[in-house]
Subunit: 291 residues, 2 copies
């Protein structure tokens, strides 16, 4: 969705390679150097990072890299300030381990990092209230833009959230949500283990939070909307997934066509088991090209 | 506000002269001819009209002109379809007379007029739910734009409005709102009559609906944010108004600097009487330039 928004305003996006600790800082630096060489560094406005349980991979950025992203952004702010947008939408949905310090916390003079967070994941999507912590110089501009866009958020919903936060029911609610999702995640991971272990070259991430499991199939099995697998899964086995290729910027040379994002958010435990079963059946029984 | 939004997306706005029956159709046609002569007709996307109780003037577009606007838009749709945006935000706040047919109702094949309406004025501003009736060919595009802007309206609020509408409490509520505003409007008009009648060259509209009274002072008395009157009214007499010049497009040669918009929406009856008294005192006792 965010890639669509960026395309809509005419921005160009460049993907930076990740590994199990999130965005690779060496790759980010190479990317900055490449932009400098091609005389395009002045066009770079922002480094976007989902710090916790990234959608779709479920991976979090390590603490040391959080610090390095901020340092790099400051160091390379030659033509103008390069902002870091920290999208922390999933931050509160952590099911194991301690929270990491935010990227924002490493921006000591508060002029580089925009921290964006929402109550949609932790409290209720239908309320559509979130918050941002932004450098002072951007407050006026972002306020104007938002005013032009929506003439202000619904204050009924803001009052509702304020009341919930003041009542201390918010933390109680988040704990319930967390517990429910934790169980769903565990169910999805154990179903995947059970159903996919006998299939060669299938692997998936074990997310410590968030709402998604990122699954990679053998190279030859494409997952896109027009793929054989997608049609077979949806039409014959009535199970749906989000094709992995939707999560790469247009023209990204690193794009893989054999991945998918699985969601455990809305399904019941039985629904998750059933869905993973159907998905495995779809991969296992996929009609081959020769037939 | 809407002028600001249009500026923000780089659109040029051209003002069309109005009289007591709203936008003058002969002036609109002259404007279209002028655009044709200057080879700019292909740039014209939309004719914007507030059909009922326009902000700030309180004037409504006459029924015959509503029909003519649609006819003109269709007739001049040479390069592409020219849309008419009917902003009917104040439609339900009518205090005298029968409702006029909407501009939209004259667009028989439903391809020229976009009708936009809101529950902010008639029900509750804090809910921020409205609706539009749009030509079929625009549904996809506008849906995508809105999706990129806000990722969908708050469905808590949509459900709330749906429940209120189904319960038939909506009409009851609007009638209460209408009655309350009618009394406030009458109070403002009688206060104006009482306080301003002895001042020469002051005139004001008598709106049949909406939330505003549009007042014109003698030419020599400017009303802008940096005017003597504004400072005297706000600083000394503690009364506030919206300067009329804010309602003209940038560079509009017809702009007058001696007008103001008065709102009777939020004040109590006593507050309205007090405010108009203070405003009249501000005009009457305005320190002259010689002092």
């Amino acid at each position: 969705v965010f890639l669509g928004v960026l395309n809509g305003v005419g921005a160009r996006t460049i993907a930076v390679e990740s590994d199990d600790s999130g965005m690779r800082i060496d790759r980010l630096e190479e990317c900055l150097q490449q932009l400098k060489r091609s005389n395009e560094l002045h066009r770079l406005k922002m480094i976007y990072v989902v710090s916790d349980f990234e959608n779709p991979s479920g991976i979090s950025l390590s603490a040391s890299r959080r610090k390095q992203v901020v340092e790099l952004a400051k160091q390379w702010s030659i033509h103008h300030r390069i902002m870091v947008l920290e999208d922390a939408a999933y931050r509160e949905l952590r099911y194991n381990g301690d929270p990491l310090p935010s990227v924002w916390s490493f921006d000591e003079n508060r002029e580089t990092v925009i921290l964006a967070q929402t109550f949609s994941k932790s409290f209720s999507p239908g309320v559509r209230v979130g918050f941002g912590v932004i450098p002072r110089e951007l407050v006026g501009v972002i306020g104007n833009l938002k005013g032009n866009d929506d003439f202000g958020s619904a204050n009924l919903n803001q009052h509702l959230m304020a009341t919930v936060l003041e009542s201390e029911r918010y933390e109680q609610h988040v704990e319930i949500v967390r517990q429910s999702y934790r169980t769903k995640r565990d169910t999805m991971l154990s179903s995947l283990h059970q159903e996919f272990s006998d299939l060669p070259d299938v692997r998936w991430e074990h997310p410590r939070g968030g709402l998604y499991v990122w699954l990679t199939l053998p190279k030859r099995i494409e997952t896109g909307f027009s793929s054989k697998l997608f049609e077979f899964a949806v039409r014959t086995n009535h199970v749906m997934y989000v094709p992995g290729e939707l999560f790469y910027p247009t023209g990204d040379p690193a794009m893989q066509k054999n991945q998918m994002r699985l969601s455990f958010g809305v399904q019941s435990l039985d629904g998750i088991r059933e869905g993973i079963g159907r998905l495995a059946a779809s991969v296992r029984d996929l009609p081959s090209c020769d037939e």
